[in-house]
């Protein structure tokens, strides 16, 4: 059985007592204790400004299935950013940063209908975006579709 884990280490000195959080989780199929996610896709895209693109297309095969998505802005300029949108709802911005310090996000992704695409719109300049999806339930389209 495949095993996929996601860990985060979060720290901040904004509060009087420094915040430090570390945790990890094993990515499982929806509602299961012992059945891990067993499919994955990954990519790297250059996103030109001005147009909203579907970075990840929702599929009905993903309805009620588990999926986890990592998206990172690999742009080196901190004034560059992409706006993340799901089903026409603006989620927020991922900025670039020097020396690979750009923003990233890691979320569960509900593909609760075919319009639940994960979209990106680039601003300031062409943004470089990397992404990984761990999921279940996908079947490939037959030839000719």
């Amino acid at each position: 059985m495949a095993t996929t884990t996601a860990a985060i280490s979060l720290s901040s000195d904004l509060m009087s007592s420094n915040l430090s959080v570390s945790t990890d989780t094993t990515l499982m199929k929806a509602g299961t204790e012992n059945d891990s996610l067993d499919q994955a896709r990954m990519g790297y895209n250059k996103i030109p400004t001005g147009t909203s693109f579907d970075l990840l297309d929702a599929t009905t095969a993903g309805v009620d299935k588990a999926a986890k998505v990592l998206i990172a802005n690999e742009s080196e300029d901190e004034t560059y950013y992409v706006t993340i949108v799901i089903d026409a709802k603006t989620i927020g911005r991922l900025y670039g940063g020097p020396d690979g310090s750009g923003d990233w996000m890691f979320i569960p992704w509900n593909q609760d209908d075919a319009t639940h695409d994960l979209e990106v719109t680039a601003t300031t300049g062409t943004n470089n975006i990397s992404w990984i999806v761990f999921h279940e339930g996908e079947t490939l389209p037959t030839q000719g579709d």
């Binding site: 495949a2 095993t3 996929t4 884990t5 996601a6 860990a7 985060i8 280490s9 979060l10 720290s11 901040s12 000195d13 904004l14 509060m15 915040l19 959080v21 945790t23 990890d24 989780t25 094993t26 990515l27 499982m28 929806a30 509602g31 299961t32 204790e33 996610l37 067993d38 499919q39 994955a40 588990a66 990592l70 990172a72 901190e78 004034t79 993340i84 799901i86 089903d87 026409a88 709802k89 603006t90 989620i91 927020g92 911005r93 991922l94 900025y95 940063g97 690979g100 310090s101 923003d103 990233w104 996000m105 890691f106 979320i107 569960p108 992704w109 509900n110 639940h116 990984i132 761990f134």
Partner: protein
């Protein structure tokens, strides 16, 4: 002051996947100036399937600056007594649009627009007790 977050992924789905790790520092809009405000680290216990606001943007004591570099971290800590049930899910939404489901032990970190009414909502999938930990970092408006 600095707020940083590192993600580390490992998987044997790809035979040649050597893992992934990335660190970000949270900055103000389009700058290398550290982000300066936070909700503080909070915990919320839920025990019904009613959808509730986890963070109500209009209620923040320090008004967030809209559409900047804000990020939110949420973790499903199980029942709060050390039991992480992967079959108990909590749906995370922004103003009624579903983002996804966190199962026991799962976490997320995502950008948020922090616009008033674009609240972060959560909806447990059952009446089982679940405890969420969360913190939002944002730029003061």
């Amino acid at each position: 002051m600095a707020t940083t977050a590192t993600v580390t992924l490992s998987s044997d789905i790809f035979s040649g996947f050597s893992g992934y790790s990335k660190t970000m520092t949270m900055y103000k809009d389009g700058s290398l100036v550290d982000i300066d405000s936070s909700t503080g680290f909070s915990k919320r216990k839920l025990a019904s399937t009613t959808k509730v606001d986890l963070i109500t943007m209009a209620n923040e004591l320090v008004e967030p600056l809209d559409n900047t570099g804000a990020k939110v971290y949420i973790k499903h800590t199980g029942n709060g007594k050390g039991v992480f049930d992967k079959s108990v899910g909590v749906t995370v939404l922004i103003n009624s649009v579903e983002i996804g489901v966190l199962y026991g032990g799962d976490w997320l970190l995502m950008p948020v627009a922090v616009v008033d009414a674009e609240d972060i909502e959560v909806k447990p999938g059952s009446d089982a007790t679940v405890v969420l930990e969360y913190v939002m970092f944002y730029e003061e408006g």
